[in-house]
Amino acid sequence: MVPSSETPARGAAATLPVKPAGQGDYDEDFNLKPKFATPLARNEREMVMDVRTQDMEMNMGPQHPSTHGVLRLLLRVDGEIVTGAVPYIGYIHRCAEKIGESVEWIQYLPYTDRYDYLAAMNNNLGYSMAVEKLLGIEIPERAMYIRTICAELNRIGSHLIAFGTYGLDLGAFTPFFYSFREREWILSLFEKICGARLTYSYIRIGGVFNDSPPGWLEEVAAFCNDFEEKWKEYNDLLSENSIFVSRTANVGVISVEDALAFGLTGPCLRGSGIAYDLRKAQPYELYNKFEFDIPVGSGRKGTVGDCWDRYDVRMQEMRESVKIVRQCLAGIQEGPTLAKLSAALRVPAGHAYVGIENPRGELGHFVISGGDKKAIRLRVRGPSFCNLSILPKALPGTMLADAVAVIGSIDIVLGEVDR
């Protein structure tokens, strides 16, 4: 296809032959189809509030503190009740996949940091594992242990942000500071091992860049001990708080069917009651050696799959991560941390899809190599991208203030949605 002559120019979507006006929930001018106007997506609370006003459209975002980045939501509200939502994304699209085709394999590593910047270690890990699968190399065991420690610590750090900002979204200011205090410790641990606080580029193809500095593992152990204590405080502060429970229980319920149909993974899927964790179900690296549980949404405060369940799954997961880190610390041995690789990396032709359990769900890297220094295609399957796509389904029927609770409970990182 020659892009110049045949591709549609401005307003490409409007001139598409395949979009007969009237398909989908909205038409081009964002008028809801009758499907939404009928009591189809109404929940019981809306039935109770039997006042109908004229629907109003309003923008939430892109500069809205509760959208966790530059997410723009076009909401259609009937009084206080959301009757329709359309997410608009792409405000920080950085063409990660196009860059992946134009830089060398190892050079792409810093770019992986930048999609889910709260869990950059996990991104590094996913990309490295995909390329390693193509290369067919064995990773030294110590490197795998360090990778696991880093990935799990980063999971804790990421969930701490989710916990803190979720409280912030719903009006609880204090947990945010406390969670950042612990996260700061994790960041300084990462700073000691790799020199960066956010964009680590530490886990690389073939292992890790540096061995852990002396005393680092002991400090990780100290962190684990301290974190167990602090976790109880967090739980007391927020999880059981009556106001918080009122804001989250029975709000934004995502059924199992919806969760699967919309491709939800990670805490969002587990919050809906499915105990599916890639670390357990399809263990990679060393995860089959470790003992840990998969927290699942229980409906303890409301319905299974509500916001509180998703929040609770994250809280419990932090403790499981601490368990894993402890087992890593017990099992780690001296040894090399980097497999032998040539400097100009040529990856054998083929393709590999590797999905790993990011804090937000399955982060998939699908790489296709033509046997050259660069990739033919580098596809990133971001968990936030898919988790976000449920908003048009999950938001209608909730109160406008609860929209914030639903978005926060899905815990998106816009850097990864937009890539």
Binding site: A9, V18, K19, Q23, K98, Y353, F385
Partner: protein, 193 residues
């Protein structure tokens, strides 16, 4: 269109031996079984239409090439068949293998939570007029993935409810992940060089 059905796909030439900790991966659906399911009597397609494309000698992560015309039916079977039960479509990726190809590949990565297995199927569409049926009716998640594939490759998904650009701006010209894409010099007066 070239008469040769086999495109210039970079298939592994002496691919490296797969390390131990990758294989065996019990969660990769056996391609033969998948093929048998799809081509069983009453199934969506004929056995001749399906082509197994293994990766290396061990068939780890192989594709099944499926006819693009029947993609919606095939996906429905993959979701509903008790041996498959692929409830989640992980990603739908367009692939432009090379400039010389006259075809685009669309690869569907599927995950079954119930059976804990994965599968990949691939359909080919012509580059000149890339069109394929939507699978939005099978998996709701396909909505955004197909929009993304349209955004980057210009593949038109017939029957899609809301096919517009998703990551690029709506007035972006061209489809950036095609190999013959030319970078624009400027965008709304902003120099891109």
């Amino acid at each position: 269109m070239a008469s040769d059905p086999k495109p210039t796909t970079p298939e592994p030439k002496g691919a490296a031996a797969v390390p131990r900790h990758w294989l065996p991966s019990p969660w990769d659906h056996s391609l033969e079984k998948l093929k048998a399911t799809l081509s069983s009597p009453g199934g969506p397609c004929d056995a001749n239409d399906l082509k197994i494309v293994p990766w290396g000698a061990k068939q780890c992560e192989g594709y099944i090439d499926v006819p693009a015309a029947k993609i919606a039916d095939i996906c429905k079977v993959l979701r509903d068949d008790p041996d498959c039960r692929y409830e989640i479509v992980m990603c739908i990726s367009g692939v432009d293998y090379s400039k010389e190809d006259d075809k685009l590949a669309i690869i569907y990565h599927l995950l079954s939570v119930a059976n804990n297995q994965r599968a990949q199927i691939r359909a080919w569409v012509p580059k000149a007029a890339p069109e394929i049926d939507t699978v939005e009716g099978v998996w709701a998640a396909a909505n955004w993935h197909e929009r993304e594939t349209y955004d980057f490759f210009g593949v038109v998904f017939r029957g899609h409810s809301d096919l517009r650009r998703i990551l690029c701006p709506e007035d972006w010209v061209g489809f950036p992940l095609l190999k013959d894409y030319e970078f624009p010099k400027e965008y709304h007066g902003i120099s891109c060089v």
